[in-house]
């Protein structure tokens, strides 16, 4: 039996009196695509910051890729990849320079960087554009490249924070095919999204409301738990009651 890729027990984060993440317990298996959903302000970002070793928990425990986020955050950060809409690539560097920069930061050898670059750029058909400035790439390509860069050092777990925001509907779906390919290689994927149709593409998902996990399971299980027929209705039912100013 293998250990889960992500495991939390009563993971909690307080800011003064405010409990941003309130005793969440979850387990994500290796190679799983896990959707981490919730309304704005529900606590997703705070939870992710703890899981990637950037923010110490106030209470509870979390193990990610075999390392404890509280006692060994540096190991966690080495073993994971992270991509967000806000932070990803350097616009003023070319595709190749970005890959080389991140490869160096992750401590890969020159030979490793070269072979990994060839493999990953081919996967997203960007090889011909390797000397193009990232600024000049269409948004959809930028986001696919950002995912490849997050996978450069073969992380055990990759965290994707709204990776498909704003992209066109074809690119959005192509991005999900890349997510599937990533998971099929054994990398665990935790992904957030505001597109509820994408939640259906996850193996399992959780929905956070007010710092707690209000529902968790496969898309079908979550629909059944709440007693409605679409994830859209699930989301509405669970989060509408809560409208903080």
């Amino acid at each position: 039996m293998t250990t889960p890729a992500i495991e939390t027990t009563n993971l909690t984060r307080r800011f003064g009196d405010f409990v941003a993440v309130d005793a969440i317990t979850l387990s994500v298996a290796r190679g799983e695509v896990f959707g981490f959903l919730g309304a704005n302000g529900a606590g997703k970002t705070t939870a992710i910051r703890m899981l990637i070793g950037l923010l110490a928990p106030s209470d509870g425990e979390a193990t990610v890729a075999g390392a404890n986020v509280r006692t060994d955050p540096a190991t966690v950060r080495r073993r994971i990849g992270y991509m967000s809409q806000r932070f990803s690539l350097y616009d003023d560097l070319t595709v190749r320079e970005n890959v080389e920069l991140y490869g160096t930061i992750y401590g890969l050898s020159r030979a490793e960087i070269r072979s990994r670059m060839t493999e990953l750029l081919e996967r997203i058909q960007l090889t011909a554009s390797r000397d193009t400035l990232v600024r000049q790439l269409p948004l959809g390509w930028k986001q696919q490249l950002a995912l490849m860069v997050a996978l450069l050092h073969r992380p055990e777990v990759v965290f994707l924070d709204e990776p498909t925001g704003g992209v066109d509907p074809i690119t959005r779906r192509r991005f999900w095919e890349l997510i599937y390919a990533t998971a099929a290689e054994g990398t665990t994927v935790l992904v957030t999204t505001h597109y509820l149709d994408e939640a259906e593409y996850c193996d399992r998902l959780s929905i956070m409301v007010d710092g707690r996990i209000a529902a968790m399971g496969t898309p079908a299980e979550v629909r059944a738990q709440v007693g409605v027929s679409t994830l859209d209705e699930v989301f509405l039912t669970l989060t509408r009651a809560v409208a903080a100013p």
Binding site: A39, N40, G165, G166, V167, D168, E177, E200, P219, P245
Partner: protein, 315 residues
Amino acid sequence: MSSSDAAIVVHDLHLTRGSTRAVDGVSFTVPRGERFGVIGPDGAGKTTLFRMLTTLLVPDRGTAHVLGHDVAGAPWMIRPQLGYMPGRFALYPDLSVAENLAFYADVFDTTVAAGMARIAPIWSQLAPFAARRAGALSGGMKQKLALCCALVHRPTLLVLDEPTTGVDAVSRREFWDLLDTLRGDDLTIIVSTPYMDEASRCDRVALMQAGRFLAVDTPAGISAGFPLPLLALRAADRIGMLSVLRDFPHAVGAWPFGETVHYTDARVGAAPALVLAELREWAGAHGIADLEGEAITAGIEDVFIHRLAEHERAA
């Protein structure tokens, strides 16, 4: 339609920014009182178009008349009648809710009292927090305040640039419900969004990509314009199913849509039942034994994907 009957009349509008043709030959008309949506991904040119309509950018070529005036010739005739809510929160975070509203009223040489009838349905939800710093509001409340500030001078045209981008599904719905409270008056609304599912909340929509309009119609008209047989299909192996469907000789496209895969067939007018029977046989021969499905009406996203793919094939 003459330009005085319409809130917006745009003809062959172009603007190049840097090396990008941000708006590349757009023409459309928005009658007064309509709610018109411009739907497209980031980089489609929505913001550039809106900045020309609000007289903040000058077109390279073509014309735009807003509320009867040429945007290039008479910006000062247009601006007092415009309410503009930019995509990013642009209020004063250190001023209170009430102070922000008073400031915007003052800028347009009016008072909050004079604008209250216009903003009342939205203000009623904000009033309990009137003394709070705007910067300390939740995202949803900030949006309500921004909307009040854009409306307090009783504009005849409200321009909303991506009000729901990055907002969760429930808050998005609430924002559109809020716009519904503004219905029934002489207020034209033009709104942009990257979310295809919001098309149904507009009277008419334009689908925008790479500086051009792919289609302009009512949401129902756009759906009805889908030219090919479309089926929603299910199988346990959803990923395996995708590649099998794409390899079918008559396939135009197969894309995941939530729980199902939407499959488009190249044969105009082919009976869906027949297509389904053929697909089941094909899938069965390629290791997918449990394919099921039915014909469906195209949604906005189906149409957008179809038009995008046509463009990609042509390019």
